[in-house]
């Protein structure tokens, strides 16, 4: 190869050309240099440390989430020992401070239901008595909210009457003095009547009625909430537009933002969690950006995590079930918290304790949790 062709070859690869003391002997030499590729020679900068300033890239949001208070104390005309306020968020999680910590409600069912052993082991004695079950949650596991699920009212299960179900609600309200969530069976034909009677039985206690959806008589349930001073859970299935529509319906019957919490559906870790995660993030972002129809707290039926086979199956090849199962539920809760969720309906005391302890550490004011950052030497 001649020197020239080597030069041309080299030029093709080069990013910069620096020529020094060269002599070109040629009849005619044509060098085409595109102006774009002429760069000033980069000077080698001497290594140097200069202090850089950092300003937190905080976002100023236009909107905020309304706070929803659950549980009426004596002062507010109820019999609860404390009330809990959820929501009120002003930023996305961990950008800057939000006013409320996530709240957790313990699930209680109005009849004995099959439960995986890592959950059942905590409740063996009380599975047939919802009042005792609720008491155990509060006294032993420190529950500051409980959900009573009136699943026995389903015509396909026990078809318990609305009146009997209301009696159960009264029993549980009597047994524990924490704010309460009242859930139906999920049967769209029966739930309106069951939840109406339950709302009446719990009048003045400011419970959360769980839930209304597009495919049942939401007017009947919504009005019962209004008449008896309760908040309502607006349940849709991973669809923001439906969530907006349902919320609008609820507004139109007179419920306010302060009376509504949204449940956009929780899919378990490993089985669609990402849909719930992104739906919640999108709802919260829309709320902060000013969408009036979505400026309410978000709730999660985190217990659904136990529907994942990695949670409910003993499967020894997947390691200690008594750790894996609860961790499955706790990780589901943790990730949804980071997506903006405010209220968690959970079932396993081990999961709840783990989740709550992480929340405490992460939202405490103490700046120094551990002072030894030399993890290499530990």
């Amino acid at each position: 190869m001649t020197d020239i062709s080597r030069l041309i070859e080299a030029l093709k690869q080069a990013e910069q050309i620096e020529m020094e003391g060269i002599k070109v002997v040629a009849d005619e030499l044509e060098l085409t240099v595109s102006p774009l590729s002429v760069l000033p020679a980069v000077k080698k900068v001497a290594p140097e440390y200069s202090v850089q300033t950092f300003e937190k890239p905080l976002v100023k949001y236009r909107g905020e989430v309304s706070p929803v208070r659950l549980g009426n104390t004596k002062a507010e005309g109820g019999t609860r020992n404390h009330s809990i306020t959820v929501g009120g968020d002003k930023t996305m999680p961990f950008e800057s401070e939000n006013p409320s910590k996530p709240a957790v409600a313990f699930d209680v069912f109005d009849m004995k239901i099959p439960l995986p052993s890592p959950v059942r082991m905590h409740f063996e004695e009380v599975l047939e008595d919802p009042a005792e079950w609720a008491k155990l949650c509060v006294d032993k596991y420190g529950a500051d909210m409980v959900t009573i699920h009136l699943i026995s009212t389903d015509p396909g299960i026990k078809d318990t009457t609305a009146r009997e179900a209301a009696k159960t609600v009264e029993d549980v309200l009597q047994a524990v003095k924490v704010p309460m969530i009242i859930g139906g069976s999920g049967n769209p034909d029966k739930d309106p009547e069951v939840l109406k009677k339950a709302a009446e039985a719990a009048q003045g206690e400011r419970c959360l009625i769980n839930s209304v959806s597009m495919n049942l008589d939401y007017k009947k349930i919504g009005s019962a909430c209004l008449d008896n001073g309760h908040a309502v859970l607006s349940w849709t299935q991973l669809d923001i537009n439906n969530q907006k529509t349902l919320n609008k319906h609820l507004f139109s019957i007179g419920l306010k933002k302060e009376d509504i919490i949204m449940d956009p559906t929780t899919a378990p870790l490993g089985y669609g969690l990402e849909f719930s995660f992104s739906t919640m993030e999108r709802i919260r972002l829309a709320a902060l950006k000013g969408d009036d129809d979505l400026q309410m707290p978000i709730a999660s039926g985190t217990t659904n995590a136990w529907g994942a086979r990695e949670a409910w199956m003993k499967a020894p090849e997947w390691g200690d079930w008594e750790k894996r199962g609860p961790l499955w539920e706790a990780v589901t809760a943790m990730s949804l918290w980071l997506a903006g969720c405010n209220l968690f309906m959970m079932i396993c005391p081990t999961s709840i304790e783990l989740f709550k302890s992480m929340v405490d550490v992460l939202s405490s004011d103490k700046k120094e949790i551990t002072d030894d950052m030399n993890w290499i030497g530990l």
Partner: protein, 451 residues
């Protein structure tokens, strides 16, 4: 916020000749695929150098991509703060720690564990990416020996963790050519450690404890040395600050901060080692992954803890652009005949793929009716009436399953048990209640179906 790149911004640098050599019909189409990161610049044979440079600049991800390791691991390269805005690209790499005072047996057990770990989950093989070697002793010779031993036994990417420059130096003399990640350059050691990164052409992690200004200053100093492959560690305290630092770092990258646009390293192992346990470590790992860690170092290798962590990673990095529903209709598994079982599931993609993979692994010949439930899973669809007796009847009629089999017997998901009575009346088929979880389909067919 970072300006969104439009296809016109790209198009003007493309050859505009629609030669189709890239596999796309037009240059315009190629441009929009570039934005979606579904094709690469090198797929276009006609790009001029200047255009290539401009395009590289325009298309550079908000977070720089860093590659390290003998079996290369890519981290960073992210474009968005929230996954629904596009997708997350490079899964959080997971490293397991070992140290230079560990007994031989334990060391070899942990290395083997990382090498061999693999878990099949819904069509994906989940693995571990790296080993982090800690210079626990603080002694350079001990570290060198441990690094040498480890490198002999694994091809997994390595992270060399030491505060001692001499230890890093010795280790790099041996394995510098394997492109390990060097941990860490600090305010005090950046010049020496940066020098090693230059000499061995290895990426380097910067550590500054809970102080982003300091972190930024060190990264800036390294940049001035000509180092581009930098990972940042703002300190992994299990406190309120860590997570906020992660969020601020990632937001800075999206705001086009050209110093802090780096992959983030989180160390859940620090949570474990500072008097925590496997449960807390797994929770810390989860929250770091959900909020932007591109690389994490774990201590606990119990499978009960790794499963949820790996599963969460799989979930977060699932491409949200992928459809949620599969086509409704009849699917055949194996070679079914007129006596084969008929099963029912929903057209929610996740449910369908789970059921399909369970049927395949059970090696059952059967028909599966995929019901259009608007892409909703079984339990929720029963509650929301997308899985109702009338819809199933409609599917039976429309799919013509009655002509494919001689029996009139169908198994529905256990979680849809409550519609069985109404369904039997409505369609006149015998309805069996299948297992609650499709992993039991094999057992169910052998037992209850045949009984």
């Amino acid at each position: 916020m970072r300006k969104k790149v439009g296809s016109l911004d790209i198009y003007k640098y493309l050859p505009k000749i629609n030669c189709k050599k890239c596999g796309e019909k037009t240059c315009m189409a190629f441009g929009s695929q570039l934005i979606e990161r579904k094709v690469e610049l090198k797929d276009c044979p006609h790009l001029k150098r200047e255009s290539l440079k401009s395009l590289e600049e325009i298309l550079a991800p908000a977070v720089r991509e860093v590659v390290f390791g003998e079996l290369p691991v890519s981290i960073g390269g992210e474009e968005v703060l929230y996954r629904h805005e596009l997708t997350y690209f490079n899964q959080t790499a997971i490293a397991i720690d070992i140290h230079d005072e560990m007994g031989k047996e334990e060391l070899s057990k942990r290395i083997k564990f990382v090498n061999n770990f693999s878990h099949e989950r819904i069509g994906e093989t989940l693995t571990l990416q790296a080993i982090a070697i800690r210079n626990r002793s603080g002694d350079a010779a001990k570290f060198e020996k441990c690094v040498e031993e480890t490198a002999k036994r694994t091809k997994k990417a390595l992270i060399l963790c030491s505060w001692n420059f001499e230890a890093l130096n010795k280790a790099l003399e041996i394995i510098g050519h394997k492109k390990p990640l060097i941990y860490a350059a600090t305010k005090d050691t950046w010049k020496e450690v940066g020098g090693l990164a230059v000499k061995y052409n290895c990426p380097v992690a910067v550590f500054a404890d809970n102080d982003i200004s300091e972190l930024k200053s060190v990264v800036n100093a390294l940049q001035r040395m000509g180092i581009d492959d930098i990972v940042v560690d703002p300190g992994s305290r299990l406190g309120p600050c860590t997570l906020q630092l992660f969020v601020m770092l990632r937001r800075s990258a999206m705001d086009e901060d050209k110093v802090l646009n780096r992959p983030i390293l989180g160390v859940p192992a620090a949570v474990y080692l500072q008097g925590g346990n496997g449960l807390k470590e797994a929770m810390a790992a989860s929250l770091m992954m959900a909020k932007y860690a591109d690389l994490i170092i774990l201590h606990n290798i119990e499978i009960w803890a790794l499963l949820p962590i790996l599963t969460l990673r799989q979930n977060l990095y699932t491409d949200p652009r992928r459809p949620v529903r599969v086509e409704a209709g009849i699917k055949e598994f194996g070679s079914p005949d007129e006596n084969s079982p008929v099963l029912l599931t929903t057209n929610f993609a996740l449910t369908y793929y789970t059921v399909a993979s369970d049927i395949e692994s059970a090696k059952v010949d059967c028909y599966l009716i995929v019901l259009d439930t608007d892409g909703i899973g079984v339990e929720a669809a029963v509650a929301g009436r997308q899985l109702s007796a009338s819809r199933v009847k409609k599917a039976i009629d429309e799919t013509g399953i009655g002509k494919k089999v001689r029996h009139k017997k169908m198994a529905i998901p256990g979680l849809a048990a409550r519609i069985s009575g109404e369904l039997e009346q409505l369609c006149g088929w015998k309805i069996l209640i299948g297992p609650n979880d499709s992993s039991d389909i094999g057992k169910f067919i052998e037992g209850r179906w045949k009984a």
